[in-house]
C-alpha cells in the first residue's frame, strides 16, 4: 500500500501543520455521539484529525476518551447495548454509512489496546500475521515478508527474530505491546488507534513505544489516548481535551496544536486540567 513510499514528504511535517493530502488516513468526525444503553458517554463531538500526525486525546477518567476512540473504528458497538450516531469520515468515506461493513472499517483503522493482548495460543510469527492468515492469505513467502516488515516497523524484529516460533505470551510486557502494534501494522491500516498503550509498561518500555509512535507517524495517522500529559506533549502534534459536561456526557473542550494547547490554552478548563488544578 501507499504507506511505504511517502516517508520524505511527511517526515518534514512540523507539529501543527495540517496536511491536505487525501487518501492517507484523514479523519473527520462530525457530531459523533455514543451511548451505553441509555447512558450517553460522548456528546456531539466534532473534530478533524490530521493525516500522518499524532493526535492525543486527554481528559479526566471517565470522560469518554476510550469510547470516542472505539467509535472511530466501530469497536464501540461490540460492547453490550452500545450504540453510536454521527459521522466518521475516513478519507471522505463515512464508516457509519448504512452500507459500511464494520469488519472492513477495522481493517483500515487498526487498534492497539491498553493491556498488551497477543493471542496466547499463537507464536510470535502467527500473532503478527494472524489478521492476514485468517483473512485467507496463504502465500507463505508473502506472510514471511509481512511478518518481518511489520516487526521491523514495530522496532521488535531485532529482539524476536530468533524466537518467532515461541509463544507471543512469553515476551516481556513492552515487547508484547510492540507485538500488538506489529500485528495491527500487518493489516496495512491507514489509521492506528491506541488506547493508553503504555499504561501497563515501565518507563524504558514506554520510551521505546513513544519512539516508535514518533517513527510511525511518518506513515500512519495515529490517535492516542493517554493519561500522561508529558507523554501527550512528547509524542503528539495535536491534542484534544475532553471533559464531562453537566449531564455526564463527554464533550470536546479544546482541540489544537499540542504546543499551543499546553503553553497557551484557550479554555479555562483546559488550563486547570493541564496545570493539575482540575477538581
Amino acid at each position: 500500500m501507499s504507506n511505504n513510499n511517502n516517508d520524505g514528504a511527511s517526515a518534514v511535517t512540523s507539529a501543527g501543520t495540517v496536511h491536505s493530502e487525501a487518501g492517507h488516513g484523514s479523519l473527520v468526525v462530525e457530531d459523533l455521539q455514543a451511548w451505553y444503553g441509555r447512558f450517553r458517554a460522548v456528546a456531539n463531538l466534532s473534530l478533524t484529525i490530521t493525516p500522518r500526525a499524532v493526535t492525543a486525546i486527554i481528559g479526566p477518567s471517565g470522560c469518554g476518551k476510550s469510547t470516542f476512540l472505539r467509535c472511530i473504528n466501530r469497536m464501540h458497538e461490540v460492547a453490550r447495548g452500545a450504540r453510536a450516531a454521527g459521522k466518521v469520515l475516513l478519507d471522505g468515506d463515512d464508516v457509519y454509512a448504512p452500507d459500511a461493513d464494520p469488519v472492513q472499517v477495522r481493517r483500515h483503522i487498526g487498534m492497539v489496546f491498553q493491556k498488551p493482548n497477543p493471542f496466547p495460543m499463537m507464536s510470535v510469527y502467527d500473532n503478527v500475521v494472524a489478521g492476514l492468515k485468517l483473512a485467507g492469505v496463504k502465500n507463505r513467502a508473502m506472510l514471511d515478508e509481512v511478518a518481518e516488515r511489520s516487526l521491523r516497523r514495530a522496532a521488535l524484529w531485532d529482539e524476536v527474530n530468533d524466537k518467532l516460533n515461541n509463544s507471543g505470551a512469553a515476551l516481556s510486557g513492552g515487547q508484547q505491546q510492540r507485538l500488538c502494534i506489529a500485528r495491527a501494522l500487518a493489516m496495512e491500516p491507514q489509521v492506528l488507534l491506541m488506547d493508553e498503550p503504555c499504561s501497563a509498561l515501565d518507563p524504558v518500555a514506554t520510551s521505546k513505544i513513544e519512539d516508535l509512535i514518533r517513527e510511525l507517524r511518518q506513515n500512519y495517522t495515529i490517535v492516542i489516548v493517554t493519561h500522561n500529559m508529558q507523554q501527550a506533549a512528547r509524542v503528539s502534534d495535536h491534542t484534544a481535551f475532553l471533559l464531562l459536561d453537566e449531564d455526564r456526557a463527554g464533550r470536546l473542550v479544546e482541540y489544537g496544536p499540542t504546543s499551543q494547547l499546553f503553553t497557551n490554552p484557550q479554555d479555562r478548563r483546559t488550563e486547570d486540567y493541564i496545570t493539575g488544578r482540575f477538581g
Binding site: 472492513q104 494472524a130 516460533n165 495491527a184
Partner: protein
C-alpha cells in the same frame, strides 16, 4: 495486623542497640495473634483433611476394583465373548467394542451440539431465547438418566427402529453428554478475557472467525476437560443403555441391532450367582476405568498444543 510491642521502653542509650523484636514476630505475646494462629491452624487442618478424605476414598475404590478385578484379566477376557449363563471363562470383548462404538457415535452427536450451544450461550446468547436455552440445558442436566433412557426407548426403540439398538444407546448417551459439555465449555469460554476477542475484532476479523481462531483455541484445555468429563460420565451409564442398546452376548458392530456395553456387562455379571462371574464383573469395572482413562489421555494428547516445543 501486628502492632509494635507496646511494652518497648521509650528511651535507650543511643549506642546500645539491643536486638529489637521484629514487629512481625510470630511469637508476639499478644493474645489476638495467638488465637489467629490457632484459627489458622484449625482451618488449615480441616481443609487438608477434607482433601485427604477425598483422595483416600478414591484410592480405596480404585485399589479395591484393581484387587478384585485383576484376577479376571487375561487375554481371553479381552478377546472372547461372554459365555452362556453359568459357564466359566469367556470375556467382555463385545462389550468393550460396543462401549467404544457407542461412545464414539455419542461424542460425534453430542460434542458438536454441546460446544455449539456453549458458543451460542457465551458469545451470542442474550435476551429471552438464550434464557430458554440455558433453562433447557439445566433441565436436561438434572434429568435422571433412566428418564433419558425411557424417552429414547419410546422414540427410537418402539418407533423409529423397532427393536433395541446401539444407535438408540448412542443417542441416549449423547443426550446425557450435551448438558455436561455445554455447561463446562460455556464456563471455559467465559473465562477467555474479552481483550482477546477485541484484539481479533480490531484486526478486522468477523465474529465467527474470532470465535473459531481465537476464543476456542484459547479455551482449548477447558474444551477438552468438558468433552472428557462428558465421555467419562456417559461411558459409565447403565440404566439408559438397558432400555436402548439392551446388551448383546455376541459380537455386533451394527448400530441398528442390540449392542453390548461394559456397564451393562458389569450389571449382568454382577447379578449372576456365580463367583467366576462376580470376578468378571470386577474385571469389567477395571476395564471400564481403564477405557475412560485411556480416552481422556488420548483426547489430551491428540489435541496437545504444539506451541513452543521447537
Amino acid at each position: 495486623m501486628s502492632r509494635p510491642a507496646a511494652s518497648a521502653p521509650p528511651m535507650r542509650a543511643a549506642f546500645v542497640q539491643p536486638p529489637r523484636p521484629s514487629p512481625f514476630n510470630r511469637n508476639a505475646s499478644s493474645g489476638s495473634a495467638r488465637s489467629r494462629y490457632l484459627v489458622d491452624g484449625v482451618m488449615r487442618g480441616l481443609i487438608v483433611s477434607a482433601a485427604a478424605a477425598g483422595v483416600f476414598l478414591l484410592l480405596v475404590i480404585l485399589l479395591y476394583v484393581v484387587v478384585r478385578g485383576l484376577p479376571a484379566l487375561n487375554l481371553d477376557f479381552f478377546t472372547q465373548r461372554p459365555l452362556p449363563y453359568g459357564e466359566v471363562g469367556g470375556g467382555v470383548a463385545p462389550a468393550l467394542l460396543g462401549t467404544l462404538e457407542m461412545l464414539t457415535v455419542a461424542s460425534l452427536l453430542g460434542v458438536p451440539i454441546g460446544i455449539g450451544t456453549a458458543i451460542y450461550l457465551s458469545e451470542y446468547g442474550r435476551g429471552p431465547f438464550a434464557s430458554i436455552v440455558r433453562f433447557v440445558v439445566d433441565l436436561i442436566a438434572g434429568l435422571p438418566s433412566i428418564v433419558v433412557g425411557v424417552f429414547v426407548w419410546a422414540l427410537m426403540v418402539r418407533h423409529v427402529v423397532g427393536n433395541y439398538n446401539g444407535l438408540a444407546g448412542s443417542v441416549a448417551l449423547a443426550i446425557i453428554m450435551i448438558p455436561i459439555v455445554t455447561r463446562t465449555v460455556e464456563e471455559m469460554l467465559r473465562l477467555v478475557p474479552d481483550t482477546y476477542r477485541e484484539a481479533a475484532l480490531g484486526l478486522g476479523l468477523p465474529r465467527w472467525k474470532t470465535i473459531m481462531a481465537v476464543v476456542l483455541p484459547t479455551a482449548r484445555a477447558g474444551l477438552i476437560t468438558g468433552v472428557v468429563l462428558s465421555m467419562a460420565r456417559a461411558g459409565g451409564e447403565t440404566a439408559p443403555l438397558l432400555l436402548t442398546a439392551l446388551g448383546n452376548q455376541f459380537f455386533s458392530a451394527d448400530l441398528l441391532a442390540p449392542m453390548a456395553a461394559l456397564p451393562v456387562q458389569i450389571y449382568n455379571y454382577a447379578v449372576a450367582p456365580y463367583d467366576d462371574w462376580h470376578t468378571k464383573a470386577w474385571g469389567s469395572a477395571l476395564v471400564l476405568i481403564l477405557v475412560i482413562s485411556l480416552l481422556s489421555l488420548a483426547t489430551r494428547l491428540s489435541t496437545r498444543n504444539t506451541l513452543g516445543e521447537r
